[in-house]
């Protein structure tokens, strides 16, 4: 895990939380996809590591040949969800996963980006068993409703 300290020099309110600092960085892989995870939450890094114990993920770059590269940027929210239903919006270019009203994560396969916000109440277990596998399937280009079910 590396820690970076970028700065944002402005007084304009960041209403969308676009510029929340995400200083924690962690490299891993999911099958043939190399992923750089960038986050503000050490718990998400730890969950990623436990996800890797299922032999789908390996820490470090290690000289592997990868078919794809993805940049995951996940911001942990302070806010709690009012509900916990999953829904997915699929467009020609994006998958957007909603979990309740405070978790939203988009997957842009052509740009190799997973960008989103995770509500404070989403547990490590839920991230490991539901969210990460779902995101991994979206990164792989899931196309049937069956593949979207959590």
């Amino acid at each position: 895990v590396t820690i970076q300290r970028p700065g944002r020099q402005t007084n304009v309110p960041d209403l969308l939380r676009r510029f929340t600092r995400t200083p924690l960085r962690f490299n891993f892989r999911i099958r043939e996809t190399q992923v750089l995870l960038e986050t503000n939450d050490s718990r998400l890094v730890a969950v990623t590591a436990s996800f890797g114990s299922e032999e789908t993920l390996h820490s470090g770059l290690g000289g592997h040949a990868y078919k794809r590269q993805f940049h995951w940027k996940l911001v942990r929210e302070d806010e709690l969800s009012h509900d916990t239903n999953f829904s997915i919006v699929v467009t020609d270019d994006l998958f957007v996963v909603f979990r309740g009203d405070k978790t939203v994560i988009s997957v842009d396969r052509s740009l190799g980006e997973v960008l989103g916000f995770v509500a404070a109440d989403v547990s490590d277990e839920e991230m490991r068993t539901q969210m990460f596998p779902l995101l991994a399937r979206c990164c792989d280009g899931a196309s049937s409703d069956q593949q979207f079910h959590v």
């Binding site: 304009v12 467009t91 939203v104 842009d108 989103g116």
Partner: protein
């Protein structure tokens, strides 16, 4: 059970060419009702099919959720806005596309579209489609635009309402959308409601018969449609000519005091969202628009009194033509 909403253009069989704040929008939807709701925004130049952005909307006929709690987030080129869990909007600023799922109740709700959703779409997508949202009211004097700028609570809305009773056409009271057409600046309104804080009732007693509502940012206010509820003359577009920063205080007489270009530039920049590195081209184009707006003649308008008094004083200065129309 995970709900999956597929928003793919080839499955959306209802099309319309619309125009918001001068931006040409191609609407694709599965709902003829939504096309009907937005009919008032249909483009006059429908023969020209090119669009600045695409709005793809799936109306979910199985859900009528009444929950409209707003939640906005953004990273890089993606912005999401949800109103409850049944109404979600995904903005892709690199591809100039908005994809949305809404309930059939929202699809029919023109007040919600005009008061909230359309300003949101133009505001969020603005930089990507060369539109500059400016935090100001706007009135039109025979097509020439007077912009009233100032922080929330500075009296923009009450002054613009008072001015609208002096035969100026009302365009907007809070956000005005500026673009460049054939090398001239154009200011647009979005038919959003006028937002008046509760204490406005002391200057406009007729508000007593209206209901206070909770606005998107959580404050209580009167939100009234300028044409339908306030009976004001309304325009949607004008050419901005002058910029005025109202300043109420204990001044012995009203005055217009010129402000330098950097003041206008700093004000506009302080009220637009900072864009991420991924949108550097949009940022450069926006800077160009801000610079051109900063070239407008601009003044502080110092006064002491009611909005009606301020409107009379500003009109007096307008009519003398010594300051503003020079």
């Amino acid at each position: 059970m995970t709900r999956v909403s597929s928003i793919r253009p080839h499955t959306l069989h209802w099309h319309a060419l619309l125009s918001f704040a001068g931006a040409r929008c191609g609407l694709l939807t599965n709902s003829p009702e939504l096309v009907s709701t937005l009919i008032g925004w249909r483009r006059d130049d429908a023969a020209e099919p090119a669009c600045d952005f695409t709005l793809n909307v799936v109306v979910d006929h199985t859900d009528n959720g009444a929950d409209r709690r707003p939640f906005f987030r953004g990273l890089h080129h993606i912005v999401t806005a949800s109103f409850g869990e049944s109404n979600v909007f995904v903005f892709d600023l690199l591809r100039s596309t908005v994809s949305a799922v809404v309930t059939k109740t929202v699809a029919r709700d023109i007040v919600f579209w005009e008061g909230t959703l359309l300003p949101l779409i133009v505001g969020v997508l603005g930089a990507a489609i060369r539109i500059l949202p400016v935090h100001c009211a706007c009135l039109s004097v025979k097509g020439d635009g007077l912009l009233l700028a100032g922080a929330s609570g500075s009296g923009k809305s009450t002054l613009s309402l008072a001015l609208a009773h002096h035969d100026l056409s009302f365009i907007s009271d809070d956000w005005t959308y500026v673009s460049s057409v054939e090398d001239r600046l154009v200011a647009h309104g979005m038919s959003a409601p006028i937002k008046l804080l509760p204490d406005s009732v002391q200057h406009f007693p007729s508000l007593m018969s209206q209901q206070l509502t909770r606005t998107l940012n959580g404050e209580l206010a009167y939100e009234l449609h300028p044409q339908k509820e306030m009976r004001l003359a309304v325009d949607r577009v004008c050419q901005p000519r002058w910029l005025v920063f109202p300043e109420r205080g204990e001044f012995s007489e009203s005055a217009l005091i010129p402000v330098p270009r950097y003041h206008t530039r700093a004000y506009v920049e302080a009220n637009v969202e900072v864009l991420p590195l991924q949108l550097v081209k949009a940022e450069q184009e926006r800077k160009g628009l801000i610079e051109r707006l900063a070239e407008l003649p601009a003044w502080r308008f110092r006064y002491d009194g009611t909005p009606q008094f301020a409107a009379r004083e500003l009109m007096r200065l307008l009519e003398t033509g010594k300051e503003i129309f020079a």
